[in-house]
C-alpha cells in the first residue's frame, strides 16, 4: 500500500522530466519558429492548412540559406482547438522551446487566450486571420484584415451601382465576437449612410449550426419587400457549407439577393458544389485567381511542396506568407531575433503582396492591403470584380463614435501605446 504514493510521485516526476528534457537538447545553431495551429478538434478544418503553409515557408527560406546564416527550425504543436491549451502551448513554445517568434491562432478566443502569455514572456505572435479589430498589442502583428480592410469595402461595393445598389441588408452571423463586432461597425456604417433601421436585419446562430431552412426562408421573406436586398455573412467556417447548400436549394440567386461573406474562401468552397452559387461574393485581400507573377510562382511552389496541384490557396495563407517574410526581413534588419529589436525594426517594413502592391507594417501593427471583391465561380474559384488600392488597416474603427480619434502607435515598442487618444494624448491601456 505504502508504495502507491511513491509510484504516483515517481510517475508525476517522470512526466515533468520528459517535459523539461526535450528543451535544451538542440544546440543554438538553428533559429526556432513556433507554429501554433490546431491540428485536431473543430478548428483543424481551417488551421491545418496554415500549419502546412508555415512548414512550406520555412522550407523555402531554408532553401534560400536560412536566416542570419542559421537554418530555421519549425516547432509544431497541437493546441487541439482548446483555448486554454493554446495558452499552455504558447508558454511551452516560448519558455521551453525558446522560439524566436510564433505564427499561429485562428479564432479570436485563441488569440485572446495567448495574449497575456506573449505579453508576459515578451515574444511575438503573427496572427494571420481577418478579425474584429478593436485591439493593438505590442507583441502581436496582425497580418489579416481589420474590419476596414474587408467589411466596409464589401458593403460599399454592394451599395454601388455596379454591385447592385443594395438598399436592404441582412447581417447573418454566428454568435461570437468577430461577427458581433463587425456587425456593430456595419450597422453604424449603414445608418450613417442613411439606411433606415427597419431595412437592417441582424440574425445570430450558434457555432456549427446545420439546419438553415428557417433562416434562409427568413432572408427570402426579408428580401421580398420590394427593395434590392443583400446579405452580409459573417457565418463561421463549419456552418457555411450547410448554409450555402440550403441557399442553393431554395434557389436564392446572386442576381436577386447577393450574399457577401467574410469567412468563405477557396478552402471552404472546395467542400461545396458551387454551380448554383455562382455570383455570390466574398471580400478578401487575396484570391487564388489573382493574376500576378508573384501569385503564380507562389501557387506553383506551394503545389510542389504539398505534392498536390488541387490544393487551393487562400487569404489567411497570404497573410501567413506576408507575416513570415516581414518577420524574416525584420530579423535581417535588426541582425538579431531579440523581440524588442525585431519589433522596432518591423514597423515601416514593406514586402510585396501576392496581389500586387506592397504590404507595409503600420505603427499600429496592422498591414496595408488591397481589398478584393470576388464572385464565386462554378469551378470553386473567385472572379475578381472589384479591387481597391492598398488600404491601411485600422485597429480602432473610425466608424464607431467611441473609437474616433483613437490610434495605436508601436513605432517604439518600449514606449508605444495600443489605444492612444489623439485628442488628449493619453494612453488608455495599462502599461
Amino acid at each position: 500500500m505504502t508504495r502507491l504514493p511513491r509510484i504516483a510521485a515517481g510517475l508525476a516526476l517522470g512526466a515533468a522530466m520528459t517535459m523539461g528534457a526535450f528543451a535544451p537538447v538542440f544546440a543554438q545553431d538553428t533559429i526556432k519558429v513556433g507554429v501554433l495551429h490546431s491540428l485536431s478538434g473543430t478548428m483543424a478544418i481551417s488551421e491545418t492548412t496554415l500549419k502546412d503553409t508555415m512548414l512550406f515557408l520555412i522550407a523555402e527560406q531554408n532553401k534560400k540559406g536560412g536566416l542570419l546564416g542559421k537554418q530555421l527550425e519549425p516547432v509544431v504543436v497541437d493546441p487541439a482547438s482548446d483555448w486554454p491549451l493554446f495558452a499552455e502551448k504558447a508558454r511551452e513554445l516560448i519558455a521551453v522551446d525558446k522560439v524566436a517568434a510564433v505564427f499561429g491562432c485562428w479564432t479570436s478566443s485563441s488569440r485572446k487566450s495567448v495574449l497575456p502569455v506573449f505579453k508576459e514572456l515578451n515574444s511575438i505572435l503573427f496572427y494571420p486571420v481577418q478579425y474584429e479589430g478593436e485591439e493593438s498589442e505590442k507583441n502581436v502583428i496582425y497580418t489579416g484584415a481589420a474590419p476596414n480592410q474587408q467589411a466596409i469595402p464589401a458593403v460599399d461595393y454592394l451599395m454601388s451601382e455596379e454591385g447592385g445598389a443594395v438598399k436592404r441588408w441582412v447581417l447573418e452571423a454566428t454568435d461570437y465576437v468577430y461577427p458581433r463586432t463587425t456587425n456593430k461597425i456595419l450597422e453604424q456604417y449603414l445608418k450613417d449612410k442613411g439606411v433606415p433601421p427597419e431595412d437592417i436585419k441582424i440574425n445570430y446562430t450558434p457555432f456549427g449550426f446545420s439546419d438553415w431552412q428557417t433562416e434562409v426562408a427568413a432572408i427570402k421573406e426579408f428580401g421580398s419587400a420590394g427593395k434590392k436586398t443583400g446579405v452580409v455573412s459573417t457565418i463561421n467556417g463549419d456552418a457555411n457549407v450547410p448554409f450555402y447548400k440550403e441557399l442553393a436549394n431554395q434557389g436564392i440567386k446572386a442576381e436577386d439577393i447577393p450574399v457577401v461573406a467574410f469567412s468563405v474562401g477557396e478552402e471552404e468552397l472546395a467542400g461545396m458544389d458551387t454551380t448554383n452559387l455562382v455570383g455570390h461574393l466574398a471580400a478578401w485581400n487575396y484570391f487564388q485567381s489573382v493574376d500576378t507573377p508573384e501569385n503564380t510562382a507562389f501557387i506553383d511552389s506551394w503545389h510542389g511542396f504539398i505534392a498536390n496541384d488541387k490544393r487551393t490557396t487562400n487569404d489567411p495563407m497570404e497573410a501567413a506568407y506576408l507575416g513570415f517574410n516581414l518577420w524574416v526581413a525584420a530579423v535581417e534588419k535588426a541582425g538579431t531575433t531579440d523581440t524588442d529589436a525585431v519589433l522596432k525594426a518591423i514597423v515601416g517594413l514593406s514586402y510585396p503582396n501576392l496581389t500586387g502592391g506592397t504590404a507595409t507594417v503600420l505603427p499600429n501593427h496592422h498591414l496595408t492591403k488591397p481589398v478584393l471583391i470576388g464572385e464565386v465561380q462554378a469551378d470553386g474559384q473567385f472572379d475578381i470584380v472589384s479591387q481597391t488600392e492598398p488600404v491601411p488597416g485600422d485597429a480602432w474603427s473610425d466608424v464607431l463614435p467611441e473609437d474616433k480619434g483613437i490610434e495605436a502607435d508601436w513605432t517604439d515598442p518600449l514606449t508605444g501605446c495600443g489605444h492612444l487618444d489623439t485628442a488628449t494624448k493619453t494612453c488608455g491601456a495599462a502599461p
Binding site: M1, S108, E134
Partner: protein, 393 residues
C-alpha cells in the same frame, strides 16, 4: 463532531496522500523560487502554473469520483460545475482589472464597454469583493447541483438517463454562455487578468502561491472525501451504488443521500475551477463542452474509480500525457490518447490504481469490488436495454 470526522478521515492511505500533497505544495514552489537556475532540481517558471492546472483537474476528477465511484451517479456534466466556479473567479478577476483595461473604464470590463453596456449587469455586482466571489464559487455550483439533483433524484432518474440529462445540462449551459447577450463575454470569455487579492497573477511568487493553494485545496478535498466515504453515510452511498432499490427498501432516504453527495461534489468541482482560472488565465464557454465532461470521466476511469487516489493519478497522468504528446507528436497524439482509453477499459478495468492494488496486495483479496452496478433493463419486453449480468460470452 468535527474532530471525529477528521480522525475518521485519517485512515492510513489518506494520510499518505495528504502528506504527499502537502509536501508537493512546499517542494514545487521551493524548487521554482529558491533553487537557482541551473540547479538540477530547479523547476522552470512555465512548469508551475502547468502543474497547478493538473492539480485542479485532479481535483475535478476526485469530485466526479465521489459521485460516480462511490455513489453510482455517472455525471456527464461535471465540467459545468467546474466552469461555473471558474466563471465566478473570472468575474472577480475581471473586476480587479479596474481602470487598467484597454478602454480604461473603472467599472465595466473591456468586452462590456465594447458591446455598449451602459452599466454593470446586476449579477456582476459584488464580484469586486473577494469574499463575495469566494462565496459564489461555492454557492453557484452547489445551487445548480441542488436544484438539478433534487429534481432528478426525486423523480428517480437513474443510469444512462441521468447521464444524458447531465450532458443536456452542460450542453445548454455551453450554448447559453456562448451567447454574447448573457453578459459573460461570449465565446472569448474572460481573460487578460491582472491581479488576485492585490498580487500580480503573472508574478512567479503568485503562481507558486496559487500552486500551493491548489495542492492544499486538493489535500483538503481528499480529507473531505475520505471522511465521507469512511463514514456510515459513505457505506450507504456504496450500498446505493451497488443496489439502489434494495437500499431504499431498507429504509434509507436514497434521494437525500445522493443529493448530498452530488452537491458536495459540485462544490469541490467549483473550487477546482476557481483555482484553475487564475493559473491558465482564461475562462470561456469551451469549458462547458460535453466532451470535457466525458474526459473527466475518463481520467477517473484511467486512475481507478472507487478509490481516492485513483482519480488524482488519472487526472495528473492523462493531462501530463496530453501536454507532452501534443508537443511531441502533434499529428498523432489522438491515436495515443484514444488507444489509451481503449487499453485501460479492456485490460485495466479497475484503472491504474485498482490494477496495481490487486497486484501488490496478494495476501488480501481486493477490499471491494469497484465495478459498476448493472444498469437496469426490462426483461419482459421485446427490445430491452441491457444484457444479463455477467453473461457476456
Amino acid at each position: 463532531m468535527i474532530t471525529q470526522l477528521v480522525l475518521r478521515a485519517l485512515d492510513r492511505r489518506a494520510v499518505w496522500v495528504v502528506s504527499a500533497l502537502l509536501l508537493v505544495a512546499l517542494a514545487i514552489p521551493f524548487a521554482n523560487l529558491v533553487l537557482p537556475e541551473g540547479h538540477p532540481l530547479h523547476l522552470p517558471n512555465y512548469a508551475v502554473p502547468l502543474f497547478g492546472k493538473y492539480l485542479t483537474y485532479a481535483m475535478l476528477a476526485l469530485a466526479l469520483d465521489l459521485v460516480w465511484g462511490y455513489c453510482g451517479i455517472l455525471s456527464l456534466g461535471h465540467a459545468a460545475f467546474f466552469a461555473l466556479g471558474g466563471y465566478a473567479m473570472g468575474m472577480y478577476l475581471m473586476r480587479q482589472i479596474g481602470a487598467r483595461g484597454v478602454y480604461a473604464n473603472p467599472v465595466l470590463p473591456d468586452f462590456m464597454v465594447f458591446l455598449n453596456y451602459k452599466e454593470l449587469p446586476w449579477f456582476w455586482n459584488g464580484f469586486d469583493q473577494f469574499w463575495f466571489a469566494a462565496l459564489m464559487i461555492v454557492l453557484v455550483p452547489a445551487a445548480l447541483a441542488f436544484v438539478f439533483g433534487f429534481l432528478a433524484f426525486r423523480s428517480r432518474v437513474t443510469g444512462v438517463y441521468l447521464s444524458i440529462i447531465t450532458q443536456a445540462m452542460t450542453y445548454a449551459l455551453l450554448l447559453a454562455f456562448f451567447r454574447n447577450d448573457l453578459g459573460f463575454g461570449g465565446n472569448n470569455g474572460l481573460t487578460d487578468f491582472k491581479d488576485i487579492l492585490g498580487f500580480n497573477v503573472q508574478a512567479t511568487t503568485t503562481r507558486a502561491a496559487l500552486f500551493a493553494a491548489s495542492a492544499i485545496a486538493l489535500a483538503f478535498a481528499v480529507l473531505v472525501c475520505t471522511a465521507i466515504v469512511n463514514s456510515k453515510l459513505g457505506k450507504v452511498m456504496i450500498a446505493i451504488r451497488d443496489a439502489e432499490s434494495r437500499t431504499r427498501f431498507l429504509g434509507y432516504r436514497v434521494d437525500n443521500i445522493k443529493l448530498f453527495a452530488f452537491v458536495v461534489s459540485a462544490v469541490i468541482a467549483g473550487i477546482a475551477g476557481a483555482l484553475y482560472v487564475p493559473q491558465v488565465g482564461i475562462i470561456n464557454p469551451g469549458e462547458f463542452d460535453p466532451g470535457n465532461s466525458i474526459e473527466v470521466v475518463i481520467w477517473t476511469a484511467v486512475g481507478g474509480r472507487g478509490t481516492i487516489i485513483g482519480p488524482i493519478i488519472g487526472g495528473l497522468l492523462v493531462n501530463a500525457g496530453k501536454s507532452v504528446f501534443t508537443g511531441l507528436w502533434p499529428d498523432y497524439w489522438l491515436y495515443a490518447l484514444g488507444g489509451l482509453f481503449v487499453f485501460v477499459t479492456l485490460f485495466m478495468p479497475k484503472g491504474i490504481v485498482g490494477s496495481l492494488r490487486s497486484l501488490f496486495s496478494r495476501r488480501k483479496p481486493p477490499r471491494q469490488d469497484n465495478s459498476e452496478p448493472l444498469e437496469t433493463g426490462a426483461k419482459d419486453i421485446p427490445i430491452i436495454a441491457e444484457p444479463q449480468p455477467g453473461a457476456a460470452e
